[in-house]
Symmetry: C2
């Protein structure tokens, strides 16, 4: 079995979807867009030792590479359709490639997106680029630029978990096995929390369903990839607005709160990246947002308000707090 | 000036095209496909020291990264529309990034494709992935699988030049300057030939216009990226056919013929990759193909015939020649 066959075997799965006229195996794919919908194009790269630790399993890496792109589609209110993969690997290891493909297809199936093409190359470190084409009804994409003073600021799920989970990889407490597949013999609460946090890094929850439900409801949205403070600042800047953020209202998971003291947890929630939750603004009634949260069984928390100030101001109760907007000038 | 600003400055050019509703700067781009057209999705990666030598200038690299993808769109008869870029760089060097962007936009303008998104990351070597979305009228994409016994086999331009040009980089005879911008003080014929060959590697001619003209004329097409023999074999395999290739008819440039003896030149033409010419099959009259060649001022040469044999057989005149199909099991 040579590399060419490995790649074909792992990635060239039959696509049973009549939106894909020609899939993998020609010079390119031929896809059939729906009439009256606009196309969303997103692309994101994960580089070994920059965006993920070497201890992340290939299954999780495959899943994560798709999820981080799905998250961008979600932040625009889109439906994911087709994806292409550019995979650079150090050596052709059948087991590794096969496990990577398993994780990738797991995410693909979960979110109904089809792999239609790719390019596999060799490099000195693993570099994964996934590109997803999605769609939205014409003129309905949720942009970063629509927030208005008076809108409430919301965030899905909980924040800071991925940063705390990544730290568990960094300190060597995770072996090279998939989060999903590790057998956990010792079901202590501490182990359960650690497992949850690692999972939040390894397999981010792309909020695709919520994103689509937010079309017509959210005035602006962004996914939290670089950290809430930085990403929310980008949204507000794009909207020509400011904001008031209640850091005491940031949603924290039980696991994060159990593993870290208040200050550390809050810091991670505010500036830790990789959560891939959606941060959005809306003038809708709180009840309407709460119904959506119930429908998707995902917490959605009001964390502040859009203002006409020039900046994002953070408060702990009534006390102004100085926050360094990490992630905003992120390079990597 | 930090990295964030450099990237924004170099890549975030205003797009004046009403097919782009939202360009760079949001979570993703929003594009408006034309009704009644299908979407083509292609992706290709160039890794430093694998796909290009370190001596290739950043301008040429930027141009080339776009051109190799345009070539895939061309091979399907498509019109390029929108592209995204995933650029991994070793260090944030303003001059390098700016030069890379210049080359990328040069190709983009030449072929009317718009950069709508991207992701810039740091890595241990330069890795460039470009993804292009193109379109074709519904059901009209040229596939690899349509060749029929009796069809003639054609190739555009000349073959082997890029391989010969790459060798000029490899032996250190090219400094780190753009092919376009090198001042050539000594206009000897040898220098002119060397320059031509290097240019053929650095700035491949994407045959986009010819590809579109071949819709309805070519029965199958592929672009010559891995070498004619291997790529033509893929086309024939996809078509369930074989072929008879006249290697004495392979089109050679004056420069290649001047720089290399007959055997070496023919070998490069047959198995050297990176030419990005189109190889296609057609049952059309030779005169019709000749008119097309005249229209585009690009030679189009008949180099053989599709057969019902199980293999691609090579002939030098009437003599069968054994050819190792290099590139066919290419990994890298």
């Amino acid at each position: 079995v040579n590399e060419f066959d490995i790649i074909r075997e792992c990635f060239d799965k039959p696509v049973t979807d009549n939106s894909v006229v020609v899939g993998i195996g020609d010079d390119g794919a031929v896809c059939r867009p729906d009439a009256d919908r606009e196309l969303l194009c997103v692309i994101d790269t994960l580089v070994a030792d920059v965006h993920f630790p070497g201890a992340l399993s290939p299954e999780d890496l495959g899943y994560r590479a798709v999820a981080v792109n799905l998250s961008d589609v979600a932040a625009m209110g889109g439906r994911p359709r087709w994806m292409t993969l550019a995979l650079s690997i150090v050596e052709s290891d059948h087991g590794w490639i096969s496990a990577f493909a398993d994780g990738l297809f797991e995410a693909a199936h979960e979110f109904d997106v089809r792999l239609v093409g790719g390019d596999t190359t060799s490099a000195r470190q693993v570099v994964v680029t996934v590109q997803i084409a999605g769609d939205v009804p014409q003129g309905r994409a949720i942009l970063r630029s629509g927030a208005c003073p008076g809108d409430s600021i919301f965030v899905t799920g909980t924040l800071g978990d991925a940063r705390a989970g990544l730290a568990l990889y960094d300190n060597g407490s995770v072996g090279n096995c998939s989060v999903d597949k590790c057998s956990v013999d010792n079901h202590s609460v501490g182990d359960r929390h650690a497992r949850f946090l690692r999972q939040r890094f390894a397999r981010p929850s792309a909020r695709v369903g919520i994103g689509q439900a937010l079309v017509g409801v959210a005035s602006a949205a962004i996914d939290v990839s670089d950290g809430l403070a930085g990403d929310l600042s980008k949204l507000l800047q794009a909207s020509g607005a400011g904001g008031r953020l209640q850091i005491n209202d940031l949603p924290l998971s039980e696991a994060l709160a159990a593993k870290h003291n208040d200050d550390a947890a809050r810091e991670m929630a505010l500036t830790g990246g990789d959560d891939y939750e959606l941060c959005f603004t809306s003038s809708a009634e709180l009840e309407r947002i709460q119904c959506m949260a119930d429908d998707f069984a995902v917490p959605i928390t009001c964390i502040g308000m859009v203002t006409d100030a020039p900046t994002l101001d953070c408060f702990d109760g009534d006390v102004a707090v100085d926050v360094e907007i990490a992630g905003y000038r992120h390079f990597g």
